[in-house]
Symmetry: C2
Subunit: 413 residues, 2 copies
């Protein structure tokens, strides 16, 4: 950990993105809360959920046909059909009122309860009415054929869903099948977003004075927070004043699982941010400076148990860094051990891309016809991001990529 001694001055404890992901792992986790299953899409179960009883709960026909004793059908064929006496019919959603004895069959709908005595269901296609009350069977069935067992979807106590994996539509269906209508999930991490910089004004400002810019970053960050399963809270715009920033951060600590500061872009603002974070509490700043382009002036800290991310002032750099480090951090805080898969396409690079070794480069690209076309522009330009379909990464150990190289592009959703 860096000490607070340098607080208030420009300093860099530069780390790599890989180190940050592997080593900056705050212990903090959100509490659990109970939510209705119908509202739980994407939520992270706090514990495994097991089946309270067997599912479907009864041996069930998977076809329309006749419940039989499989042995009664052995050896039958088109040329030598077997004959069974139909002694009744099973109705959907009700208990069978008949038993299947030797030489008899009971009419079955798909999904009906297998009657006592039967061990298989012959599809209606392999039967025909011989005379009133009797069917011909032209194909043999094995025991269990045309039937799901009472516990085939889940045995009692079987794990229906795992902890830590965001719930998908089918998981909610499975919980409903088991009669589970609410469950314990991790609370969404509360993420307080501050913007700093004397030039920054709220988006709703209609007329800008010369030199003013509207706060684009906070809006975009809030969306990324939500996408990662967090709950964004607007901390507002704080003037370029160390004491004011420190006070605002301190006030946000108790209600935040993560604090994000979109710092002003000037060196003075960055100094104020680092100083205010350093004074906030132990253990303090973990790194100030990341070996990434764009995004070098990134700060990672933990203060009084709350992780803090200080983002670069340029909106584009801020969003690049937050996607790479902030979103995984939100998932970690929210107990998500398996992040949802990202859409990644393998395409050919349209042109040479230079890169300095020792630094991870994030390059915005358009993708068309299997080719990635880099979108260039200084990191102050947000239009580079809105024009891009996704991004590719040039790893630290590379000195660039040649045109025609196959690259993996992570697509924006």
């Amino acid at each position: 950990m860096a000490t607070n001694a340098d607080a208030g001055r420009e300093f860099f404890t530069t780390r790599t993105v890989g180190d940050a992901l592997a080593q900056f792992r705050p212990q903090r986790r959100t509490l659990t809360e109970t939510v209705p299953v119908v509202d739980a899409l994407g939520r992270v179960p706090a514990e495994p959920v097991t089946a309270p009883h067997a599912l479907p709960g009864f041996a069930r026909s998977t076809v329309d046909g006749y419940a039989v004793r499989a042995g009664d059908t052995y050896g039958v064929s088109e040329g030598l059909p077997g004959y069974l006496q139909v002694t009744g019919a099973v109705l959907m959603g009700t208990e069978p009122k008949v038993t299947v004895g030797p030489g008899t069959a009971v009419s079955m709908p798909t999904g009906g309860v297998l009657p006592p005595g039967a061990d298989a269901v012959v599809m209606i296609e392999y039967t025909q009415q011989a005379m009133t009350g009797t069917i011909e069977v032209v194909r043999a069935v094995a025991p269990g054929e045309g039937v799901v067992r009472a516990d085939e979807d889940a045995a009692p106590g079987a794990e229906l869903i795992r902890a830590g994996h965001p719930l998908r539509a089918q998981d909610l269906g499975m919980l409903s099948a088991a009669g589970i209508t609410s469950l314990a999930v991790q609370a969404r991490p509360k993420v307080t977003i501050f913007s700093t910089g004397d030039e920054v004004v709220p988006p709703e400002t209609s007329a800008l004075r010369p030199g003013q810019v509207r706060d684009a970053t906070a809006t975009a960050l809030a969306a990324l927070v939500a996408e990662a399963g967090g709950e964004p809270a607007g901390g507002g715009i704080v003037p370029d004043d160390g004491a004011a920033l420190e006070a605002a951060l301190r006030a946000a600590l108790p209600a935040s699982d993560l604090i994000v500061i979109s710092a002003g872009s000037s060196v003075g603002t960055r100094d104020e941010t680092a100083g205010a974070v350093a004074r906030l509490g132990p253990p303090g700043i973990w790194c100030h400076g990341l070996a990434i382009k764009p995004g070098k002036p990134t700060l990672l800290a933990e203060c009084c148990g709350v992780p803090v991310i200080g983002l670069p002032g340029n909106p584009r750099s801020a969003l690049v860094v937050f996607r790479l480090l902030g979103m995984p951090l939100i998932r970690l805080l929210g107990g998500c051990s398996t992040p949802p898969p990202e859409p990644i396409v393998r395409v050919k690079l349209a042109r040479d891309l230079p890169s300095a070794t020792g630094r991870l480069d994030v390059v915005q690209v358009r993708v068309a016809d299997g080719v990635a076309i880099p979108v260039f522009g200084v990191s102050a330009l947000l239009s580079v991001l809105t024009t891009a379909d996704g991004f590719l990464i040039i790893p630290e150990d590379a000195t660039g990529l040649d045109a025609g190289t196959e690259v993996d592009v992570t697509l924006y959703r």
Copy 2:
């Protein structure tokens, strides 16, 4: 279009999935509504949005340094520095109070307004204090260097976001930068979900009678509707009675952009569903039967301007079909011309997969170490879906896939 003549009887107008996607294209679109930008992540803009003024709106420094006339730096070097008189400083967020004349420089923060007279900014790294009020410049800059133009992020009237493309975090940021705090989007398609089948009871039913099953499909379908950008509404469970179903569907028509019926699994229930849909109104049933496994007993219809999907009774079949046909249909109704990209991985198939030609097969798989392992089980089993990480498709013209074949698996999120 199929006629209503066969209504009430089991009949099949079988189509392929490809035909259904290409040809079943109802004209209906949702209305537009205005939403705040901060709530617009994933929403579909109803029209393009253009920049009301230039962005950033003023020529802006991209570095900390000195605003200069580029011509004043030509020919300078470490060995032969140039000297410029510092006549002032630009402060963040304010209009410059000084002009840069020949032989002078003005101190600049990153993001500051370029003062009149200057056409470039020299990075502070390439300057040093020579004496009070004078700097040495050791590297030449070209006009425009260290600066973004007033309209470099967007010219007035430039398209900031396109219609029909779901909004991403950076798009919301760009709108905020332009001072746009609300926009017109397509309303979320309202999707009414009905379940039928005398055996089906609500998920909250604690004790099941023999033969009863809880409604798993409606819960899962509602989640898929939300994932596709729709607004699910619970139509409830309708008994296996054609007149009751028809009445329920008719009552739902005015408030629905799409009606989904999770039909009971027995042939009788399927008949009732087809009959009720056929009687609902013109043009009626488009197909009853889809060349897909699982999911053959799928019904597609349009009645009085509202598309209707009749899904198979087995929860797994229902969810497979809804993912392939229902979700794209919701996006179509909601004006989404570019669906968000899906996470797809290319992996090796672990074993042979047989398939009948002329039918599209959807195979659930687990994915581990670059290998897709099929998850088998009859279509009545929901656990096949909860166990799977994703699915692969065996196209209509294939007779199966050999072990070791490279396949594209669409991963569940």
